[in-house]
Symmetry: C2
Subunit: 203 residues, 2 copies
């Protein structure tokens, strides 16, 4: 689902277009904040400070703090599609695409797309056991990622795509956590995670 | 480091003993809360509500909210020693102790010692990239756990204890996250994690 505004709508409804730009900018900032201090730390006041959009402007666009949190997850998904998954989609399904995906995941983390590391890692743990629309959005995003790994592993001829997807996802999360914990700018956790994950991909 | 009160001190200084009981009860409740909604969600008001100790009583014992958060990590470490590590210490170092440790870890999670799953998993992600005494305590606890795995894997004859400890820790965290996300009371994530971790232990 793209959040891009079709050109005709921009031309015919300037107010809506401006609302969409505000929505996107606020949602993006909310996603950034979530990786550093959690989805719970998102407040309208903080977002107003960071984006320069007034509090009332933010509330007009979103309606509620919960809607902002859900939009933050949607924006993170969009970023994820754009920087991690999209660039490898031209690779053949299976092992080549998985290898490219691991490279692209390392780039995504080491280039600091999100200031607090992996968005899915941060929010899955924070919202894991909760209920409601924010938790559902987090769960869907995590599920979608695992299913992508499972499907590519199956295409690569893995004898057990579910176990192997679990392994790869586990390594990537652990590498992210390790670098976050140690403040390690050599990204040794991320590198180790990718190296061990590569061993799981069928040759 | 034990937080138990030596019997003579209990007899000679009732005020101190009462302070220690309060400290322990509040720290324990704080650790429970941290697994569900994070160390950041700990407030003196919430702890007062949950433990029946007055807010001023809590502040007299701890002095600050940060001191409560640090005490929560120390209490979690104590619980961890008591229910996960202590019971397997009589096993021979290496593979037998690692296998017992994995069993004991599954019991720890499935018996619901903490309402929000693994304390180390929850707090490492929350405090990973922060600085200060709480983050330092979280980092020390995580580091201690990894070093335990590395040392037992070395004793078990693993060709690469650092990689293998990373693998086992990654599986356990991923299993915990999966069960928390899915609300899966069959603990299939935890079981899968332990099964895959067991394959890493040298035969």
């Amino acid at each position: 689902m793209s959040t891009d505004i079709p050109p005709t709508e921009v031309a015919t409804d300037g107010r809506r277009a401006r609302g969409d730009v505000t929505r996107r900018r606020v949602a993006r900032e909310a996603a950034m904040i979530a990786t550093v201090s959690g989805l719970d730390s998102i407040t309208v006041g903080l977002l107003s400070e960071r984006t320069g959009v007034s509090k009332s402007g933010i509330l007009t666009v979103f309606g509620s703090r919960e809607a902002i949190q859900v939009a933050a997850v949607a924006e993170a998904r969009r970023i994820y599609q754009e920087v991690v998954v999209g660039p490898v989609w031209s690779e053949p399904a299976g092992a080549p695409r998985l290898r490219a995906l691991l490279d692209s995941w390392v780039d995504y983390l080491t280039s600091g797309v999100f200031p607090g590391g992996c968005f899915i890692a941060a929010t899955s743990v924070e919202y894991g056991h909760r209920t409601g629309p924010v938790a559902d959005a987090v769960r869907r995003l995590k599920r979608e990622w695992i299913e992508l790994l499972e499907s590519e592993l199956a295409a690569a001829g893995s004898p057990n795509p579910v176990d192997d997807a679990f392994r790869i996802d586990a390594y990537l999360n652990a590498g992210n956590t390790q670098d976050q914990l140690s403040g390690d700018s050599s990204w040794s956790g991320t590198e180790r995670a990718a190296r061990l994950a590569l061993e799981v991909v069928p040759a």
